[in-house]
Amino acid sequence: MGKIWRVSGPLVIADEMKGSQVYEIVEIGEEGLVGEIIGLEGNKAIIQAHEDTLGLKVGEVVRGTGRILSAELGPGLVGSIYDGLQKSLLTLVENTGSFIRRGAKASALPREKKWQFTPRVKVGDAVSQGDIIGTVPETGLVEHKIMVPIGIRGMIKEIRQGDYTVEEPIAWVELDGEVKELTLMQKWPVRKPRPYKQRLDPSGLLTTGMRILDYMFPLALGGKASIPGGFGTGKTVALQQLIRWAQTHLNIYVGCGERGNEMADVLYSFRKLKDPNTGRLLQEKEIFIANTSNMPVVAREASIFVGITMAEYFRDMGYDVLLVADSTSRWAEAMREMGGRLEEMPGEEGFPSYMGSRLSTFYERAGMVECLGSPERRGSVTVAGAVSPPGADFSEPVTQNTLRIVDALYALDVSLANKRHFPAISWLTSYSLYVDAVKDWWGKVDPEWEDTRATALKILQQEAELEEIVRLVGPEALPQGDKLLLLISRMIREDFLQQSAYHEVDTYCVPAKAGLMLKTIIKFYELAQEMLNSGAGIEEIRSSPIVYRISRMKDIPNEVFEQSVKELWSEMEESLVVSKRVP
């Protein structure tokens, strides 16, 4: 037990702390504020306080807890809302009201609730770390698999069936005469990646229901993506769309230093939204971490690691997990603030020089793996992190450091957002290195995917070049063929890439529909070219009712889309071919 020697913002230095370890959790002062030791110097411990230090006095007690920052893992995680230190915010509302009091405690997993445990192994079975010993039906969408904690092996001496809380023992494992109790809950230090048997390459499409992602710049399961964008470009909406519709087993949303009202909106909407495949409430497969911008700064760092630790835990059950973090810039700013208080030598723009490596330790925990233990299974963690570059200038250090690590970039463009083109993902600057990783997946859904995608990207690229000319000579001066290309690229932009997050149907587009939509536009292009060749004018093509029909494709429900697009195609051929003959 030590005492406070100095307080300066979130930095607390405590004296008489011999015997502590780095990253140990301490309780500061009479209120017991949570802090984490980040350095030791003789008897002094340098502590970052995860709560507001207002009113602390020199000489107040600092208690070491002997444990390092760990996440509680077990049934009760799904559907929960946590702060950056994994305190349950709903419990806090019950205990302390609508405002967050300093030093208030709330455990992550409910202690009273009983879960129905069904064993999968029997007495006498040999088990080792990662083995699934039983299951708990946690929600309608997630079956929680109870695994042997890392570092434990032996023979099952006893195993129970029935209703247990997370702290009651459900199995006993014996090794060399020593017996260990297993409970539904286990703990894991958040800064340490959870082990796996083997790392695999990302593969298979992470279906998001967003056309520009799924079709144009796919994200693979186990991949990592960055979404940088200035304010108002729709970062938050894009991330919300991801966690709403991504076809994964579990999604984790880390709201790190962002807006409270938006967080409230997310939480509220998840109480109503349904999973497109099962019809069950989406909150049955979500975990939320809400560390809004007015909550303690230092806890932002913890929130990211708490989130990724939970993601790895579910990955180890053999699930595909998506974690989105909004926004990693706020986390980097927390690092900068701590670095400044510690009087470290600053790197670029005042950020500490270790920011890049700290970002990689987070992103590198994404990936597809072969999980430890039996039965054999694969799981994946896919990570998408928002970046908020100051002044929408991507040359700043957080964006640049992130781009060194991630393999997919969804660059949000201010000028697109100002035109209200949403999602404002720029097709000219975005990229995905997962095109090969998802090739097989797409091959089964849409064999022409690669060609169609390349054609569309080429048209958009040509448009960008033509735009330069239009600015000089005006649109009327272009030859007919180029006018048609501008019309088609506009259709690709407005009728395919633009997607409304708020439209009932358009918000989630199945990949097959996306493919048919784009092919319809390209088919129209081919027919229109024929028309031009046989002497029709561009006005005639532009005013064709087909153009309007194509613009409404988005609103046709996924189920009836194939049928109605077939009708559109035959109509298209008829009307365009007929009008070709008329002159």
């Binding site: 230090t53 207002l54 809004t292 911008s293 900068r336 009327e476």
Partner: protein, 468 residues
């Protein structure tokens, strides 16, 4: 009055005085961020705050600077308190300075409670998503960037633009449709000129709104450090009225640029490592802890809506002040010098302005069923017109096609009829939408892609006239 006995600790051992900082020996029992009195040898008392405490030294930031402090006879006295605002319902109708002391000549407030001016963060799980439309009577806001209760929506302006007049118009006109509820205004003036502060106070007084207003005024000549406390005092008063007194509170803070300048000044005096353009790295968090005090809470009737005003240095929206603000607030109303030069009031830049909470606040039962579609269509048509305007400056309007010319004229009409309105004109949201429909009449009907046929048949003037 002075009660020396109440002062628990004091020290004379000041070793350094510079800028606004005093470094003294360690004061046992002093709390971090505690407010202290600094007594000068001539008897004058200044306030200060303990910003760094340790067993070796105490660093005090003195409000109003360290002028006339001497190292031998000056004393630091601790009161054991962090900065608190005395509150009661009687704060309504009163004017305070940047330390929360009355400056209207009236008596001190008899407090019901003392509230920490930093407030406590609202638990995100207790927040109710804002969804009630506030009618400001200004078309460019109501129609295109609707404000809702519990939102934080700043005005990004430039020097010389009429942001004060717009803010005053919003204060005069803002109502929630069909409701008469307890409404209060909290006005925080931060480092503004005396004229600006008195413009607002006169306007508030003239419209009879003074008795439901609390004002905190720190003018340009007042101590810089009080600019840090002024908005926090204003928000503390607002929270008291909203959460304890069930009122709907609108907070106007002007000019937040002065606040950020003050923050930079103090930060450099503390010798902190600067981030962009010398502003401290924690400016985002600092601003967020204030703006995030806006909101609604489940189970509570009141609400806090914040409308900060800031002037963008050199009209640059990427400057750290508007940039960080934009990352925190739920949208922004941006004023345009180009529109101002064209003589359009309010000169609201439709493209750069945005209200993130708009979609929750509009639609059937809230404004009108066609609001969202009419908004999108207006926006698209105006964007097209502005794009063509840009092209036509190079190639000449004559080189445009017929369809393009229609859009070009439409953009001018949109600015003249829709955006532009009188300073004392209060348009109902229905009137705003009808103006939009009037403008759609000039466009080819098949171009109204963003509106369903049903709504076109119901609202487009030519069908409406046919019906009546």
């Amino acid at each position: 009055m002075d009660f020396p006995a109440l002062y628990v600790k004091e020290t004379r051992a000041i070793s350094r005085a510079k800028g606004s900082l005093l470094i003294a020996e360690s004061i046992p029992g002093i709390k971090f961020n505690e407010i202290v009195d600094v007594q000068l040898s001539n008897g004058e008392v200044k306030s200060g705050q303990a910003i760094d405490i340790s067993e070796e030294a105490t660093v005090i930031q003195v409000f109003g600077g360290v002028s006339e402090v001497d190292l031998i006879r000056s004393k630091i006295r601790c009161k054991g308190e962090t900065l608190k605002l005395p509150v009661s319902i009687d704060i309504l109708g009163r004017i305070f300075n940047g330390m929360g002391e009355p400056m209207d000549g009236g008596p001190a407030v008899i407090p019901e409670d003392y509230l920490d001016i930093n407030g406590e963060p609202i638990n995100p799980a207790a927040r109710q998503p804002p969804a009630e439309f506030i009618e400001t009577g200004i078309s460019a806001i109501d129609g295109l960037n609707a404000l809702v209760r519990g939102q934080k929506l700043p005005i990004f302006s430039g020097s010389g633009l009429p942001h004060n007049r717009i803010a005053a118009q919003i204060i005069r006109q803002a109502t929630v449709k069909g409701k008469t509820e307890k409404f209060a205004l909290v006005f925080g003036a931060i480092g503004v000129s005396y004229d600006d502060a008195s413009f607002f106070m006169r306007d508030i007084e003239r419209t009879g709104a003074l008795e439901r207003t609390v004002a905190f005024i720190n003018t340009a000549s007042d101590p810089v450090i009080e600019r840090i406390s002024t908005p926090r005092l204003a928000l503390t008063a607002a929270e008291y009225l909203a959460w304890k007194r069930n009122m709907h509170v609108l907070v106007i803070l002007t000019d937040m640029t002065n606040y950020c300048e003050a923050l930079r000044e103090l930060s450099s005096m503390r010798e902190e490592i600067p981030s962009r353009r010398g502003y401290p790295g924690y400016m985002y968090t600092d601003l967020a802890t204030m703006y995030e005090r806006a909101g609604r809470i489940f189970g509570k009737e009141g609400s806090v809506t914040i409308m900060p005003i800031l002037t963008m240095p050199d009209d640059d929206i990427t400057h750290p002040i508007p940039d960080l603000t934009g990352y925190i607030t739920e949208g922004q109303i941006v004023l345009s010098r180009t529109l101002e030069r064209k003589g359009i009031y309010p000169p609201i830049d439709v493209f750069l302005s945005l209200s993130r909470m708009m979609k929750e606040g509009i639609g059937p039962g809230k404004t009108r069923e066609d609001h969202n579609n009419a908004f999108m269509q207006s926006y698209a048509a105006y964007a097209e017109g502005c794009y063509l305007r840009e092209i036509s400056t190079i190639i000449g309007a004559e080189a445009l096609g017929e369809r393009d010319k229609i859009y070009l004229t439409n953009a001018d009409e949109f600015e003249r009829k829709f955006i532009s309105q009188g300073e004392f004109e209060k348009r109902k949201v229905e009137d705003t939408l009808d103006i939009a429909w009037g403008l759609f009449s000039a466009l080819p009907e098949e171009d109204l892609k963003l509106i369903s046929e049903e709504l076109i048949k119901r609202y487009l003037p030519k069908y409406r006239m046919f019906k009546t």
